[in-house]
């Protein structure tokens, strides 16, 4: 079952904030977030695990509400390099991800 992402697209000016939401109808073990730039492969941003553990590589934060099967990705003080399509991938079991349709983020100077 594919998770639902919102919004579909967002346009920001440098320095502005945005929130991307991801919700699933299934009980989740973890939520992954990836960013994909045009013509490139998805790149890992963060994983949020059931129980509260988080692992990430960038200055982008996220939350995971296990009871509601929802996750949010927070883009704070956005930079031009944040432009791209953000995907959430939800894991119900065994490292198998279902990806949302994506949220296209455009950051303008």
């Amino acid at each position: 079952q594919q998770p639902v992402q919102s919004p579909q697209a967002v346009i920001l000016r440098e320095g502005e904030d945005a929130v991307i939401n991801c919700s699933s109808s299934k009980a989740l073990y973890s939520v992954h977030w990836y960013r994909q730039k045009h013509g490139e492969a998805p790149v890992f941003l963060m994983i949020l695990l059931k129980g509260g553990e988080q692992k990430g590589h960038e200055k982008i934060s996220a939350s995971f509400n296990e009871k509601k099967q929802q996750s949010s990705l927070y883009l704070t003080a956005s930079q031009l390099s944040y432009s791209g399509t953000y995907f959430c991938g939800t894991e119900a079991n065994d490292y198998k991800l279902s990806f949302g349709a994506g949220t296209t983020v455009t950051v303008r100077a």
Binding site: H32, K55, D94
Partner: protein, 113 residues
Amino acid sequence: DARVTQTPRHKVTEMGQEVTMRCQPILGHNTVFWYRQTMMQGLELLAYFRNRAPLDDSGMPKDRFSAEMPDATLATLKIQPSEPRDSAVYFCASGSPGDGEQFFGPGTRLTVL
């Protein structure tokens, strides 16, 4: 800098032809995934392997697609015969469950005419 590699990067073929895509996962990763990305369907999991054994290929059209891992350094995805609706970008990714992150290869852009 360890990376997943995929060949070919681009493939244009005619309907009915066989297509083989190859992937070299990152050394030490025990799980390999095949994904397909299209504008209409987004990023879909086709199949995945753990320690070279297929775990799930329910996302793959069985009549024309096959995926194998002949050894730990090579995963293949084959389409025979190919159809125009198979046109997409095919990504291979690898990882290990304890690490969480899946590392994606650069993708094979397939066009079936």
